[in-house]
């Protein structure tokens, strides 16, 4: 589904990612862990197509298509979803209107008729229930005045609405209390299928108690320094990231 080969990415001439390779197949959950500043969020944002970053080397192929030149909206229509680490507040745009526009643009891209107002509301109700999203919130402006937990739940709600093939969840667990974390994880697990894949980016092992990954990768200084099964997360939790720093410092520079 997703194939990243030797990806190098810079921002304003400063290299952030220094040769990442990753293969993701349908049905898989990959966790990407690593200390702050290792490039985790950059990887997530580059996959979604933010033009702040420049791909200087390497290739990203998604469903057989070259992603690097694709506009963010086209990536989304092809089934890529980014759950933002810091969801943006957009005063004046209601979640209903936002999602209606997004869902119908994606339907149009797939040659489907737009949903009628009543069908859309019905569809939205189902998805809200599925991911336990507070029904009052959808009438409000996107993320405006939302608590940290509400913002993250809103990301999962949007994921449910758009039904992506590849979801990239960027530190969806940060700033969540344990109850919110459970709700978010339950949502992700419910949306899981054999046809879609998820990349979970996290600093802590905690989320991985609820969303069980098939693979865990450790990102450090712009490179994946270790890949293994879910037991790697336990090891990181126990030992922290210091040993990685000690082991790999210098090698990557």
């Amino acid at each position: 589904m997703l194939s990243i080969q030797n990806l190098h990415v810079s921002i304003e001439g400063k290299p952030i990612l220094k040769g990442i390779s990753l293969e993701v197949k349908p049905g898989e959950i990959h966790a990407i862990m690593g200390p702050n500043g290792s490039g985790k969020s950059t990887l997530a944002t580059v996959l979604a197509g933010r033009d702040l970053f420049e791909v200087t080397e390497g290739k990203i192929t998604y469903m057989g298509k070259d992603l690097t030149e694709m506009a963010p909206e086209d990536r989304a229509r092809e089934g890529i979803f980014l759950g933002f680490q810091y969801p943006v507040e957009i005063p004046g745009v209601s979640i209903v209107n936002f999602m209606k526009t997004a869902v119908n643009e994606q339907r149009k891209y797939r040659g489907k008729e737009p949903l009628s107002a009543s069908d859309f509301l019905k569809f939205m109700r189902e998805k809200k229930d599925l991911v336990e999203f507070d029904s009052q919130l959808t009438n409000r402006s996107v993320n405006e005045g939302f608590s940290g937990g509400e913002k993250k739940k809103n990301e999962i709600f949007q994921m449910a609405m758009l039904n992506p093939r590849l979801s990239i969840l960027d530190e969806t667990d940060s700033g969540l209390d344990i109850d919110a974390l459970r709700i978010v994880a339950r949502g992700v697990n419910k949306l899981r299928s054999k046809d879609n894949a998820t990349i979970v980016i996290t600093h802590y092992q905690r989320l991985l108690d609820y969303i069980i990954p098939d693979y865990v990768h450790v990102l450090y200084d712009g490179k994946i320094v270790r890949s293994s099964g879910k037991e790697l997360a336990m090891e990181l939790e126990e030992k922290g990231y210091d040993w990685i720093r000690q082991e790999y410092a210098g090698n990557g520079r």
């Binding site: 909206e73 979803f81 943006v88 957009i90 643009e105 891209y109």
Partner: protein, 463 residues
Amino acid sequence: MHYPMNTMIQNQETEKLLRETFTKNRDTIERFSADLMNRRRKEALEHFMQEGIPGRKTESYKYTDMPGLFSPLLHMNLQPNHVHMDVKEIFQCDVPELDTHIIFLVNGFLPPNSTPLEELEGKVLVGSLAEAARRHPELLEKHYDRYTSLNPEGLVSLNTAFAQDGLFLYIPDGTKLERPIQVVNMSVWEDNLMIQQRNLFILGKNSAASLIICDHTLAPWRFLNNAVTEIFLDEQARFDLSRVQNENNSSQHISHTFARQETASTMTSNTITLHGGLVRNNFYALLNGEHAENNTYGLYLSDRNQHIDNFSFIDHAAPNCTSNQLFKGVLDDQATGAFTGRIRVRQDAQKTMAYQSNNNILLTDEARINTKPQLEIYADDVKCSHGATVGQLDPAALFYLRSRGINYREARLMLMYAFAHDIISHIAVPPLRERIGDLVDKRLRGELSRCNACHINCGKLNY
């Protein structure tokens, strides 16, 4: 535009020409107006000659070229019966399906085939100012040309000297008008034209009314409108005024709105500027009784070479009053704009709450806005704030919308609409709020009729 060194000389020439026009046509002006209005003309003209047309050296006109608007001097139609048309047939309102009592004005006059002064439920009077002056001199005696003193400048006096007609609205004490009144101001002529419209709205004690004013041009010429509106709100009166300015790109509109508010009265105005070549709106409010509230909101959307300048002056003369000013603008292409917001809190006006905010989005490097707050506070126990921002659309928000599959153009529109929504949400009448929301959306999409491509068929007009 550039200004020759001898602007002052040209200026004086313009003013002399205006005086000549006045002297030569005084009989005609007075014949098509009313005695009460005629009585003020001479003094007003003298005041205008003394003050002149404000130039760039006048602080409040620094960013907008007023003398340029009057040079060369445009023709004025001083006889009202000059346009014959069935306005209802040719005019298709951009605010449809709104249940309003609708009144049309053509070049500042009530057209000859309409009822000059109507009486609505609750003894409400609405119609021609000149007719009201003839039939109800006691009302005009008390209120006409009484509330313009906050602005000692010449243009208001110029209007008083030449104005013959305009809209008159009278809501008696205790009357609450359920249905909004909608006024459609149309400018139409076979050539460039100067218009001096004069409006007067009187709201009695504990009365309430909503008024919608739509400004349109029905011909592609240069229309210069120098309009004065006086509004009196007696104790506990409530007045909602929404104004939609949608004129052609050669048109120039100067509006001076003066509100005088007595105890516990509330006035809210929303001025939505959708199109216009040059627009200068002056808003003045005198809060003259305790617990009066004034909300002055404005939204301007401009592109190409349009220039939009809003000036407001809220004068807190009594304690415990509240005022809110919020102006927002989106400027595209080479559009320019200005905002000046003045708040004066007089010495006795303790416990004043006065807020002001001006936010702008510039879509191009060439678009420009000048924004300036002016606070004069002479009382010591007050809450006042002001703020101004100039920026671009938030790239993070744009990316967020696009990352859900919404295309770039649509995402931009959503953000611009959201920015504008802040003002629209203050419109009190829900159907009107919705309609104006649609209009703003259309405007941002570039689908709103411009003068030379609109559904109004100018060819149907007979002059």
